[in-house]
């Protein structure tokens, strides 16, 4: 029964073994060890899942306290694990997808110098992520939160010999710090308000929290979630995080870590229920992020960048859902997204492998001929994310949108934004598919890449050719460290990947098709997920009446089909010039990064310089002035320290005499 502790400890054990004997296990031994230990953890999760299932609904919450971690007066933190429907659901897909991606990495990282180190980081990541999810108090969650952040940093800059990768890691780390600050303040506020940071105590106490305090707590934790889940305005780190190896992008930056923010908000739903307008902030942030990120994804040429912005956009959907207090839909979309986005990333990784580590889609084309398995599975992922029934993405996205439609007066606006995002999503994913798997084999054209590609696709403006220049410079830099990564010659023949890479693709494709079945909107008998999560949710969400629901679903299908059709017209039939859609402002991600750089480099730098000057003159001046004053007085008093012990004794005697005199004067004579 009490196997919960094994879930995070198995990957931790795997990490420790790899730490000690990673080099000995080597390639592929270390990979198989890492995969096996995560698969074992998955089996334990399944066991705990069935244990929970066997219990009556109200009792489906197991707590296992191992020992007291921080005993400090009335503040007491235990190392304890909370296995309830929400955390076990998270664990199921974290360990499941984790095991598949470990398996995939055996093929993907083959021949890498730091092969065993990669699996070491991955195992540590999974241990931290499971700690985050299973921790029964906020501090333990924070420990896991920081642990996944650290692993993310280590894995983004995995090939750190390239300065670009190293700085991408730093960017992720620094951006996340802003969010962590919110998390910590939120924890402090919960401690002050509730008197405990255990989830078991927060839930019952939440209805008593004043609305203002609850709003403040909710906003602070949402700041943490914004950082971790790459929402505006802290979304800038996630696209750069694609510098890491592709399995990392799939596992950490699509399926698991970035959804930690959604998990956190869902976990704290009793507080959110009291938080009033903080929920609107969450919903609107999610909606706007989804819209902005989807629009950026339309104009990206790097296949991983498209998927990264797509992830940001889909995370926006999840926040839209939790912001409208539609937690079931949020978690539902988190699960289906984990499946199809991991599938898409792994498919992209397979393509990138086949194309000698080239990531520019303008050099792809017609790959369906060479990579049949990757193509077939990628097509499933494409249909799932575009929202075509009956694949998983349709059901979860539909539920998010339906929930948004019913959320108060602003609901229809949120719903319309979501619909717009769905249109864009279908469009840019179709664009990726056409550019990668259809059309002509563009890498065979020997001319400069700018002219090589078909005019309709790539007659770019000056800005874009500038991009190409920088891209090729970056490629040259990159090539310095990894000569084998950029050897795409015109007579290259792509080859399908090893079975360790295609097997996870097939499994994830299957899940992407059928995962919608866990929560079908045909009445409460089909809503398995909603019934499963019910005990952990303090809030009942109401969906619109059935006729409206059907109407909304048909609108979503129509919009998705429209997006696909538009992309077909643009990229396959060339009826519309692509440059009309791929605006430079989109390619530059709305200049968000540039604005940050300008603010930090211009007024920001001036401000910081002012602070530094203030520190240098006023603060340091005061400190040094005190020092100089003391030094001067000391120099004046130096002769008193004669070094003669009898002089000192005389001083003591005089002091004693004075004390006696004082006592005598105070006596009642």
């Amino acid at each position: 029964m009490n196997l919960i502790w094994l879930i995070p400890c198995l990957p931790l054990f795997g990490f420790l073994v790899l730490l000690v004997a990673g080099r000995k296990l080597g390639d592929p031994g270390a990979g198989w060890w890492g995969t096996g230990i995560v698969a074992a953890s998955f089996l334990v999760v399944v066991k705990v899942f069935f244990d929970l299932l066997a219990l009556p609904e109200e009792e489906r919450s197991l707590t296992q306290t191992l020992f007291t971690w921080i005993p400090s007066g009335s503040f007491k933190v235990s190392i304890g694990f909370l296995a309830d429907p929400l955390s076990i659901l998270m664990c199921l897909f974290i360990t499941g997808i984790g095991a598949l991606i470990h398996l995939y990495s055996i093929g993907y990282m083959k021949g890498d110098e730091k092969f065993s180190k990669f699996f070491l980081y991955l195992n540590l990541f999974l241990a931290s992520m499971l700690l985050l999810v299973l921790g029964d108090n906020l501090l333990l969650t924070f420990l896991g939160w920081e642990g996944v952040g650290t692993c993310s940093y280590l894995l983004i800059s995995f090939w750190h010999t390239d300065p670009a990768n190293a700085s991408a890691g730093k960017k992720a780390f620094v951006t996340n710090r802003i969010g962590d600050f919110g998390f910590m303040l939120g924890t402090f506020l919960v401690w002050v308000t509730v008197g405990s940071i255990n989830y078991a105590d927060i839930g019952p106490a939440a209805p008593m929290i004043a609305a203002g305090t609850a709003t403040a707590i909710a906003l602070l934790f949402f700041l943490g979630a914004v950082g971790k889940s790459a929402q505006l305005p802290l979304s800038v780190w996630l696209p750069d995080a694609m510098a890491g190896p592709t399995p990392v992008s799939a596992l950490i930056h699509a399926a698991t870590m970035v959804t930690a923010g959604v998990y956190l908000i869902t976990r704290l739903n009793p507080i959110m229920a009291q938080a009033g307008w903080a929920n609107d902030v969450i919903a609107w942030t999610g909606a706007i992020t989804a819209l902005v990120a989807a629009s950026i994804a339309i104009a990206q040429t790097d296949i991983k960048k498209v998927l990264a912005y797509s992830t940001v956009s889909q995370l926006g959907y999840m926040f839209l859902a939790v912001g409208t207090q539609n937690y079931v839909a949020g978690v539902f979309h988190m699960v289906t997204h984990a499946f199809f986005k991991a599938l898409l990333f792994l498919g992209a990784g397979s393509v990138i492998m086949a194309m000698s580590h080239e990531q520019d889609m303008r050099k792809f084309g017609n790959l369906r001929k060479y990579l049949p398995v990757t193509f077939a599975t990628f097509m499933i992922g494409w249909l799932a994310i575009s929202g075509i029934p009956p694949l998983a993405g349709f059901w979860s996205k539909d539920e998010v949108l339906a929930g948004a439609f019913n959320a108060g007066p602003a609901g229809p606006v949120l719903w319309f934004i979501g619909l717009l995002v769905a249109l864009m999503t279908a469009f840019y994913m179709t664009r990726v598919v056409i550019m990668t798997f259809f059309g002509s084999e563009k890498w065979r054209l020997t001319d400069a890449p700018h002219e090589a590609v078909e005019s309709a696709d790539l007659e770019s403006e000056a800005v874009e050719s500038m991009d190409l220049v920088t891209a090729s410079v970056a490629a040259a830099d990159h090539g310095g460290g990894h000569d084998d990564h950029h050897g795409l010659s015109p007579d290259h023949t792509p080859q399908e990947s090893h079975w360790t890479m295609t097997a996870p693709l097939v499994i994830l494709a299957g899940l992407s098709i059928f995962a919608g079945g866990i929560n079908l909107p045909f009445g409460s008998d089909f809503k398995h997920l909603e019934r499963w999560l019910e005990p952990t949710l303090a809030y009942e969400h109401e969906l619109p009446p059935v006729p409206v629901l059907v109407l909304l679903a048909f609108a979503a299908i129509a919009v998705a089909s429209l997006g696909i059709f538009l992309a077909y017209l643009v990229y396959s039939k060339h009826k519309i010039a692509a440059k009309k859609i791929e605006r430079p402002v989109l390619a530059h991600a709305w200049y968000i990064d540039e604005t940050y750089a300008k603010v930090a480099g211009g007024p920001g730098e001036a401000g910081f310089q002012g602070l530094a000057d203030f520190d240098g003159t006023v603060v340091d001046g005061a400190v040094n002035g005190v020092g100089a004053g003391v030094l001067g007085i000391g120099n004046k008093l130096r002769p008193v320290q004669s070094g003669l012990v009898r002089s000192y004794a005389l001083g003591i005697s005089i002091g004693g005499a004075l004390l006696l005199a004082f006592i005598v004067t105070r006596m009642n004579l």
């Binding site: 009898r646 005389l650 005697s653 005089i654 005499a657 006696l660 006592i663 006596m667 004579l669």
Partner: protein
């Protein structure tokens, strides 16, 4: 009553004479012997006030051990020559010292004699001296109950003091480093090493004797240090 008064006055005179001897006599050996007189006097006063155990260790530890230790050191260092008391090298030290002494004595006596002849204050209720119980038993009872922690700490203090004394008075010779030995037969090399160490020691001692002779040179180094 008369006998008690007589005893007190006699021992008080001995104590004061002994104290004056410690301060005024020039030869350290005489100072030490005067100190013994005072310590014995204090021991008699202890007995007069019922502190029998303390009187015993006053004689055994103070007069018997500590003063003997003083005498040993005097003999070891050969400082038993008279010290000039004609003038004090520190300007104004002696008048200031006497003034401080007069002030302390005057103020204490003012305080003591102005409040009458009885000691005021709360008489003990917890550790009252039971006349039927021997003094040593009563003292042991509080030492091993109320003051047992302090008692244990004093054992640590004494151990530290012994270790400190050993370290301070140890004559530090040059350490022999086996790693420095060149190849060859060990016995010869050890002998050579000892010889070298002896030579080094002599040199050191010469330097030490040179150190003390030129007073001005030491002054200049101290000036430089500042």
């Amino acid at each position: 009553m008369r006998v008690e008064m007589f005893t007190f006055l006699l021992t008080a005179a001995i104590c004061l004479a002994g104290s004056a001897g410690v301060v005024l006599l020039r030869n350290p050996v005489h100072n030490a012997l005067s100190l013994v007189a005072t310590l014995f006097g204090v021991a008699v006063l202890f007995i007069q006030q019922g502190a029998y155990f303390l009187a015993a260790i006053q004689v055994i530890v103070y007069a018997g051990a500590i003063v003997i230790l003083f005498l040993f050191v005097i003999m070891l260092l050969g400082v038993d020559k008279a010290e000039g008391l004609d003038r004090d090298p520190i300007l104004g030290q002696r008048p200031a010292a006497i003034a401080a002494g007069v002030a302390i004595l005057g103020l204490s006596l003012t305080a003591l004699l102005s409040v009458g002849s009885r000691v005021t204050g709360q008489a003990s209720t917890l550790a009252a001296i039971d006349g039927s119980e021997p003094n040593i038993n009563a003292l042991a009872k509080v030492l091993f109950t109320d003051y047992v922690f302090a008692f244990e700490i004093t054992s640590v203090l004494l151990t530290v003091a012994v270790v400190g004394a050993v370290v301070l008075s140890r004559k530090a010779g040059p350490a022999i480093d086996v790693a420095e030995f060149p190849e060859g037969t060990t016995a010869d090399l050890l002998q050579a090493k000892y010889d070298a160490a002896a030579v080094e020691q002599e040199v050191l001692e010469e330097v030490a004797t040179e150190d003390e002779t030129p007073e001005g040179e030491a002054e200049t180094t101290e000036e430089a240090l500042r």
